[in-house]
Symmetry: D2
Subunit: 349 residues, 4 copies
Amino acid sequence: MGNISGHYFRVATFGESHGPAMGLIIDGLPAGVRIEENQIQLELNRRKPGNSPFVSPRKEDDQIEILSGLTDNLTNGAPLAMIARNVNQKPKDYSAINKMFRPGHADWTYYKKYGLEPQSGGGRSSGRETLSRVAAGAVARMLLKPLGITVSAATLSVGPIKSLRFDWDFAYGDPLLFLDPDLAIQAHQFVLSKHKLGDSVGAVIELKAEGVPAGWGDPVFDKLNARLGGAFFSIGAVKAVEFGQGLTLAQMLGSEANDPMGPSGPTTNNHGGILGGISTGRPIRARLFIKPTPSIAIEQKTIDLNQQNATIKVHGRHDPCLAPRLAPVAEAMCLITLADFFLAPPSRL
Amino acid sequence: MGNISGHYFRVATFGESHGPAMGLIIDGLPAGVRIEENQIQLELNRRKPGNSPFVSPRKEDDQIEILSGLTDNLTNGAPLAMIARNVNQKPKDYSAINKMFRPGHADWTYYKKYGLEPQSGGGRSSGRETLSRVAAGAVARMLLKPLGITVSAATLSVGPIKSLRFDWDFAYGDPLLFLDPDLAIQAHQFVLSKHKLGDSVGAVIELKAEGVPAGWGDPVFDKLNARLGGAFFSIGAVKAVEFGQGLTLAQMLGSEANDPMGPSGPTTNNHGGILGGISTGRPIRARLFIKPTPSIAIEQKTIDLNQQNATIKVHGRHDPCLAPRLAPVAEAMCLITLADFFLAPPSRL
Amino acid sequence: MGNISGHYFRVATFGESHGPAMGLIIDGLPAGVRIEENQIQLELNRRKPGNSPFVSPRKEDDQIEILSGLTDNLTNGAPLAMIARNVNQKPKDYSAINKMFRPGHADWTYYKKYGLEPQSGGGRSSGRETLSRVAAGAVARMLLKPLGITVSAATLSVGPIKSLRFDWDFAYGDPLLFLDPDLAIQAHQFVLSKHKLGDSVGAVIELKAEGVPAGWGDPVFDKLNARLGGAFFSIGAVKAVEFGQGLTLAQMLGSEANDPMGPSGPTTNNHGGILGGISTGRPIRARLFIKPTPSIAIEQKTIDLNQQNATIKVHGRHDPCLAPRLAPVAEAMCLITLADFFLAPPSRL
Amino acid sequence: MGNISGHYFRVATFGESHGPAMGLIIDGLPAGVRIEENQIQLELNRRKPGNSPFVSPRKEDDQIEILSGLTDNLTNGAPLAMIARNVNQKPKDYSAINKMFRPGHADWTYYKKYGLEPQSGGGRSSGRETLSRVAAGAVARMLLKPLGITVSAATLSVGPIKSLRFDWDFAYGDPLLFLDPDLAIQAHQFVLSKHKLGDSVGAVIELKAEGVPAGWGDPVFDKLNARLGGAFFSIGAVKAVEFGQGLTLAQMLGSEANDPMGPSGPTTNNHGGILGGISTGRPIRARLFIKPTPSIAIEQKTIDLNQQNATIKVHGRHDPCLAPRLAPVAEAMCLITLADFFLAPPSRL
């Protein structure tokens, strides 16, 4: 369960990293949307490992194939299905380690829920699962583009190093997706130095969605921030989410927190583009707090499948910092959620 | 849209503060659950205004009436429906103010979405809407109680004053629900002093769910933290949410962040009871960051329905701090979400 | 479970005949729909018992009360909730009979599913449940009326007596809702003669929906006929459903069955207004085959709660023929289903 | 829209006959279900064309490939995804005909809904779409088999020739799946004689589900017959559905229609295994009334894309009678629906 999202732009995903392929179906796409396959490929390439020292050196050839839903590059009202074969599956020969529960991983919970052996690769907790989300997000982006909606995510901070200014163009060219050009080198060095010690680092992702018109989102359970918040927390490693000046607002007075109103809505944006669960027309702003990659080459206490105490070092090709891999996923989840509200039934006649 | 939640424990709510009644339907309750009507009433009383200087002095007589679903106090498999009449509706005679958009409120977004006049009371953004959630949460609590599951929420901080120790028994007796007995007086005074100035204060709510067995939650889109996060963000005024050491984890190293594993799961709880989107068996811990009540008696810039600049002071019976009213709602949303996973189909045969 | 229907026009119903009230919530209504409360009342009156010798002489005072969702008689985007109190609940004093399973009733299945005693009135199988559907259907009718959509249902046949011509005006004035004025007396007499013997009769309901534009319905699982068919079968006592010349088509050749195409679609209507699961623009035509009322005053073999053989005569105020009560329900289910497709997301950009 | 079914056993399908592949995802399968890939293949082979003179001579190589969800042939809790490549796609060179709307087909409605040109192959109305359903049904069968549930469907009648006795073993070996060995030759000849004239014939499919325990199905909207009825009507060409003695019941008296009750439920089965929308424990019996294949080689009146009158003969490799192809699909839809109720949350604690 849990592999289908959305009410109107419905995304169903599948695939395990050790299986034959990853993939997805999008149901609910109206006919007539132009889909550029190479654009989907470009977005997938952004989330691929092996691109820089900050992410896993694994080579994944995420070659997408569209199986249905298009006629002459336009959606035809049928479900859009896509797959990407898994071609770089290493043989599972680390027999010793794969009976141990990796701390900070889903090994324990998948074992308790499904009875799966730790690291059996049978589950859905692998980061590779996000491939399907990014592909769906790319389609959502094409759907929303004619409305002038853009969604961007980059690295705000790694460990203690936090961007003081935001240069989005710079970030998109930086291997760490770091927002502040002045601090980028320092940020790089921080990550690499910890990685050299076998460790990993936490990070914060800054996300903005611009061009979303006022009036998207529903009251009560389907508030735009509820849906976006849920979507962000569905990304593994996200442990906190804030909208607008979220954390700070909790320490402010009402007279400081309220955004004054002008003829086109709130004139400032402490609220992060959402009031009462519905978009105000101002940019949506959110931050995702990412825990350090749990796979580290430092010895940790754990147990094996027989409940015996043990120690584990998780060697392998791991991401020293998840932010540059997860920023495209955060964009995708935002886009998928916005697409769902775009296609929602009319709120008034 | 947006007024129905859940896959298996399905809650549909209705009601506007200026209408005849609030209410809800729960579909999916198995037969044979003992429902204590007075217990539901007690939970509703906890969220009622008028109980202390920290919440609105409005008197609301939230008398619940069960309309269906019970035979001899046991659920009978039919939907459980409840209503509470709105008896303290003040006449809408503030004709001047109610053509102005209140800053920080949903007036603007409901106007853009539905075409409703500001403060028309027609929408679903009133805090009174949470009555239905608390009633549903009370039922969820009765469903989960035999499993040994308890859910508690209290005030961790108001403005800059943050609890240093947690005394849950104290909190439940404190009108501000403040967790730290040593700082409670200081917290009270802070809230009252700002309220005297016509202002309001932000706060943080601490929430814990104990007794949740390992294995609840689904991969990918329906992760337990995704569903809980979405549920918490569905509460008006919640602007950030963290699980476990969420915010801090983003600044930590993997070697610090990972919880070691012992024979019964993680031996520490940085992860807040959820790994890979599935419960570990450790207590679930979350924090909800609450913005200050947007209704303040201090003059603010705004516009009226004709897009003309104006100033507004929102007099009336407002909560100086939302935390004591929203903590029971946070519990309710957690309970409703957990009930949904409790009733989920089997994860293995 | 099973008490919520629809994707976009979502109807949640509740209530047992022996409980305090029946009711419903409609979520998904756009703002700005004019709702005439007295119109809903009129539709409820049509399904009320006690109106003629052909239906139960029970007096039910189905006084509807709207609890939310309206501002000045216009929908405001919030859920529309309605209840009707149960005022004519007879005391449950037939202690002997109510431990016996009534043949043809849901007593057995509710006992097996929920553990409820036969005739405990705790379940949802009472015909009174349809009150909520008719109320929802009345709202759907108001939503669809501006599009020129009308839905009508009447009695095509009772037992062996089948209408040879259709006079819808006549039918709406006939207590049996019989379509053929020439055979109506004969039909009346047939029903009354069987009723006098303590027996009941089966019937067929003719339904038409006119004005539905071409293009409603979705491929595969949500075909318009799949959704309508499911909706009709959700009405207790409906044991068969056909669309267009359904039954006859199974005996025809393709050259006879196919409707020729003209500039505005099919020029004949063997297909009953739906091709490939999507409306053609021609009237939608369906027939619902209704079993005889299972409650009869003739002795039948059964068992009691202790599995002992017994005989039962179900005395009481039962409908000799269900058709006149169920025709308004059939209209309602059709209207609810059509409203759902009316509010569906766009099928092309 | 409309390509995802079920609440708990959720099936999402995709694929157009002229596209690269057909496929499906099943979400909600518990871990630990043994899946025999060759068993799925065998079921697909049953629905394949080209097997007999009664179905299209098209060769489709429905080679299934499982892409995810299995570990050592056992489900692992992840979605099960499967595809089958389309290898026998004829070039679309009938340029003249494919601007004409074929009578009895979905050309017109897909054109009105999506703007697709007639016969563009872009839609989802091709019979090839049912491949995904049969694959899902094969999995459902494996899930239900340990409970002793079997589902069978065969041809009851073609045109006017109706089976007088049921020999299921014979039917499974007959190319027309005809139930009555005595009339099978006559039935064959009838179909072939009409086919020789370029015509096609309607039929009735008999379906039975044995071993379904009492208590499956939900009240009101999700009645077992509502869900099954909707599932059957989702099969193209099904124009009527009855349960038990459905059609006949409408002409019967209550005293004839009611099934007497014995210690293990109803002792006869007029009701077809379902009372009050819930299974009684008796075999579920249904009939599906199938219209003649709309593609016929006889000249018919139609229009072209420019709304000009025209005549059309649909040559090609069409099924003279749809029953033998649709019987496996009917089984599949029944199995999928039953699997959904098998996995439903508990109805009592």
